[in-house]
């Protein structure tokens, strides 16, 4: 996993998912309760337009 979570886990339920802001970057890393991980940017990617409706 890239980046260290900035904060320790606070919720203890079995179905908690966490979204960490990766220190020093603009990226977010999501960790599901099933341990799957995914990374994404919340901002709009540069250079695209809304899909035609």
């Amino acid at each position: 996993m890239t980046g260290v979570p900035a904060n320790r886990p606070m919720l203890s339920g079995e179905r908690v998912h966490r979204i960490h802001w990766v220190l020093g970057t603009d990226r977010l890393r999501a960790v599901c309760h099933c341990t799957a991980e995914r990374e994404w940017l919340l901002a709009h990617p540069v250079g695209h337009v809304p899909a035609a409706r």
Partner: protein, 351 residues
């Protein structure tokens, strides 16, 4: 389509607001009449006479021996909402009954259940025990907001706005620039947002109330239980201090900032705020300082959100917002609120 979740508990008032007199407040579009009976119980019924819908909180309506007498034609109701007297006749129609609301008085709040009373489960009400604990001293207030409740949720779930909207009070540069971790518990219905600043400037709000000078460790842990209760666990400590492994935290100052976010209508909100502290207990000077400063901060939000409501209410449909990293918690809260609101609008049975 309403954005207000139904079948939910909402804070309707502080306990201290309800006395042995008629008190009216609109909650989620429903005008509700409250009073405290002679035995100390709070009662909540519809604030509209079943006859010609005259507000029962409106003079000359009055409370007589735990019964409310309509000031228009004299229909009289008991604490359970049942009509006990109709003018000019002895027969009382069976349907002459005010709608009653499930009610719980807890943590110095009066909670009412908006929706199907059969679904009211008092054990699901989130707690804020510090507000009624001898280990804390609390200041509180309520400001009316001319904005939809979701705007206040957005505002409180992202505290990076403190740096800009509340600079000089509770905002310092680190708030907007410290990464956050967002945790979402779908089962328990909690959104938790942590921002732990380990070496931060001490804003005047905390410097003057705690006496700490210079740099501090400042932790902000938001715990939001949609739709109504928001808690900000604020920890202020000397740099380098962390809670002990046994859970105690003797070097730190703790402030529990609690908001109850209650829709009045689709476009207005009751903004209940409380600040409970575990230091300077009973110190009136510190209480006055925190009350005045927190109210100032709340009013800065009120001004901004009232403007934002007008912007949203008058803009063309389809405006596309841009969300960034700081919005993670707010977006998680929105998703949970949308699910709660959609749950009431789904048909009760599949056809």
């Amino acid at each position: 389509m309403t954005s207000i979740p139904r079948d939910q508990w909402y804070v309707a008032a502080y306990s201290s607001e309800i006395r042995e007199e008629l008190f009216s407040r609109t909650i989620c579009g429903e005008p509700i009449l409250f009073w405290r009976t002679r035995s100390g119980q709070v009662t909540a019924v519809s604030d509209r006479c079943v006859h010609r819908r005259f507000p029962l909180s409106q003079a000359p309506s009055r409370l007589v021996a735990d019964q409310v007498v309509c000031g228009y034609h004299g229909f009289t109701y008991g604490t359970d909402g049942k009509c006990v007297s109709v003018p000019g006749q002895t027969r009382i129609p069976r349907t002459a009954r005010l709608r009653g609301y499930p009610l719980v008085e807890q943590d110095r709040f009066v909670w009412v259940f908006i929706g199907d009373p059969a679904k009211a489960d008092a054990s699901s009400i989130p707690r804020a025990p510090y507000l009624d604990s001898p280990d804390y001293t609390t200041v509180a207030g309520m400001e009316p907001l001319k904005a939809r409740f979701s705007l206040l949720v957005d505002n409180l779930l992202d505290l990076s706005h403190e740096t800009y909207l509340h600079g000089g009070y509770i905002g310092t540069p680190e708030v907007a620039s410290t990464p956050i971790t967002t945790e979402v518990d779908e089962e328990a219905g909690i959104v938790y947002v942590s921002r732990h600043m380990d070496d931060a400037e001490c804003p005047p709000f905390y410097a003057k109330s705690t006496g700490l000078q210079g740099r501090i460790a400042r932790w902000q842990d938001i715990e939001y239980s949609p739709p109504c209760l928001y808690k900000l666990h604020s920890r202020i400590a000397p740099v380098g201090s962390v809670p002990h492994s046994d859970g105690t935290d003797p070097d730190a100052f703790h402030v529990e900032v609690v908001y109850a976010i209650t829709p009045e209508t689709e476009h207005s909100t009751h903004d209940f705020w409380s600040v409970a502290r575990d230091f300077a207990l009973g110190d009136d000077e510190v209480s006055a300082f925190l009350a005045e400063n927190n109210r100032t901060v709340v009013l800065q939000d009120v001004v901004a959100l009232d403007v934002l409501e007008q912007v949203i209410a008058t803009e063309p449909e389809g405006y596309q917002e841009l969300s960034v990293n700081i919005d993670t918690g707010g977006l998680a809260a929105r998703r949970m609120l949308q699910r709660l609101a959609a749950a009431n609008q789904a048909p009760a049975t599949a056809s």
